[in-house]
């Protein structure tokens, strides 16, 4: 047996030691587990979480009305249409993104349980968030990134995040392309005995609930009503899950819309494709597989289960997100990182289909800086042979072109068929089962897909998958 297979085979044992959760005690039936009981592993109310976060420079971020982008959207919409667009400025959290919420409880818990350090595998903003919270807590921190291709060429956005992690005191380990990042992470968890600050533990997701809770409460306080829609940039599904749970706790009934950058055609684990994309997260390459198979994450049972909560899932093109990032700077005076503006590009389009007395909330922004900014990212794309031009983004082909809209009317969020996503989740669950499904599993899948037992059964019949 080679070392890779040996280490992976110890996965469950390493996880149990590194997150102090025995996931097996929540499992039942062929594929089911008690999600709410798992979430109760975090024994804090949303108010208590908020207090912990505020004492660590996290949360209480402003809700900013985007008056000029709203005006522009209304100019493109039929009369009486064009919802007010507001954004939750999550870039003002310590470490510059909503990920600080996600890291705060994990690091708090690690400290409380007596771990000497934390480890996280992430090429995204989460690395800096964990490093920042670990610095505050006086814990050691290791961040593992997928960073460069076999030529040694690194993504500018990821290089910036590496710089920030190191500045915040973390040990940064950079890897070439491949999902075996997980193997390196497991080995380090075993060697160091540190806490696994995974993006997918209950601590991580409960940490985001304050975002939804604040957003619902702020909207009510400022505008006297809740938003009609909230748009979340979607990758691993934690952002949407935590926000949705927080909105429910705030008594806010709203449409939850997931938005991802459309990278179809590119393989996420391909060495050749790695530097042909300009978004390293918030894209369909993570968003779709994690929505339809959430337990593909780095813990046995992911606390991020977006399909339970999402009402719609839309995609936008890379060119549309870069365009809206420029528009946010030029028209609103807010310069933010592009990846966090995925939901904004979608909201700008969706606003035009809503009434002008409605509110659509974009629930995050992220920091920007050298490397992590639309200009170096577009320059990098050009240097890697990607055609960057103005035109109709519908013609953009990921890995070949980036088409910024020649007019803002060409920004169009495209719906994914949510029923196809539900069917795909059911199919994956059935394929993952080692024994035949029973009634309890159908009930579990109905909750997982926000549907009904009858729907689940008909899907299984339709897919002829009942083993």
């Amino acid at each position: 047996m080679n070392d890779y297979i040996e280490v992976i085979s110890r996965k469950n044992q390493i996880m149990k030691q590194s997150v102090s959760i025995d996931y097996s005690k929540f499992e039942y039936g062929a594929i089911s587990f008690d999600y709410e009981a798992l979430m109760k592993q975090v024994p804090y109310t949303v108010q208590q979480v908020s207090e912990i976060q505020r004492s660590h420079a996290v949360g209480n971020t402003p809700l900013i009305e985007l008056r000029n982008l709203t005006k522009l959207a209304r100019s493109l919409a039929p009369k009486g249409m064009g919802a007010r667009i507001v954004v939750k400025d999550e870039a003002s959290n310590a470490s510059g993104s909503f990920k600080a919420r996600r890291a705060s409880l994990s690091v708090y818990q690690a400290k409380k349980l007596g771990y000497k350090g934390v480890i996280s595998s992430t090429s995204g903003n989460y690395g800096a968030a964990v490093a920042s919270q670990a610095a505050m807590a006086g814990l050691k921190c290791i961040i593992i990134q997928e960073c460069f291709d076999s030529r040694g060429v690194g993504q500018p956005e990821i290089m910036e995040k590496a710089r920030l992690c190191q500045a915040l005191g973390a040990d940064v380990i950079q890897l070439s392309v491949g999902p075996e990042l997980f193997y390196t992470s497991l080995k380090l968890l075993e060697q160091t005995g540190y806490f696994n600050a995974s993006l997918y533990t209950p601590y991580s997701i409960v940490g985001i609930e304050t975002l939804g809770y604040e957003l619902g409460s702020q909207c009510k306080e400022i505008y006297g009503k809740h938003p009609s829609a909230v748009v979340c940039t979607n990758a691993g599904g934690g952002n949407l899950t935590g926000t949705a749970r927080g909105l429910i706790k705030a008594g806010c009934k709203t449409q939850l819309i997931a938005a991802s950058v459309n990278l179809s055609g590119l393989h996420m684990a391909s060495d050749n494709h790695f530097n042909r994309k300009s978004f390293t997260t918030g894209h369909t390459g993570f968003g779709v597989p994690f929505t339809t198979n959430p337990d593909r994450s780095d813990v046995p049972r992911s606390a991020a289960r977006p399909l339970r909560y999402m009402d719609r899932y839309v995609t936008v093109k890379q060119g549309e997100v870069f365009y809206i990032t420029q528009a946010l700077a030029t028209l609103e005076g807010l310069e933010k990182g592009p990846a966090g503006n995925t939901a904004l590009a979608a909201a700008f389009s969706i606003s035009q289909t809503m009434k002008s007395d409605e509110i659509i909330v974009v629930q995050e922004t992220e920091y920007t800086g050298a490397g992590k900014h639309l200009q170096p990212q577009l320059a990098f794309a050009i240097d890697n042979g990607i055609q960057v031009k103005l035109g109709n983004p519908i013609d953009e082909k990921a890995g070949e072109s980036i088409i910024l809209p020649s007019h803002p009317r060409l920004i169009k969020a495209q719906d994914l068929d949510i029923n196809n996503l539900r069917k795909s989740l059911i199919k994956n669950a059935v394929n993952n089962a080692k024994i035949p499904l029973t009634q309890v599993d159908y009930e579990f899948l109905a909750i997982e897909t926000n549907s009904s037992v009858d729907y689940v059964k008909s899907c299984i019949e339709q897919l002829q998958l009942n083993k």
Binding site: Y4, S150, E160, P179, D271, L331, Q375, P376, L378, L404
Partner: protein, 100 residues
Amino acid sequence: MVKKGTWVSVRRTVLSPEGRAATVPDDTKQVALVLLTSGYLQADANIGDNVQIITHIGRADEGELVEANPIFNVNYGHSVPILNQVRDDLLKLMEDIDNE
């Protein structure tokens, strides 16, 4: 010669092409999984030597010596002229909306 105690980067192979996960695409399977990290050099060495380092959280690692005093080389890239056009078009559009 790089002096002991210098902040350096090292590179090592984590998985050879044969040892890679079965699920990776063919192009990725043809290349090794490579790791790059930084720390303080534990003995005088030359670029390309196999060396020991201690990272700034005190972790020991090793690998081929790549660079002394490495930095994360991030910048704002070269000029992308269409961004000027986007800015100008947006401002003109807003002017037109305000004049309507």
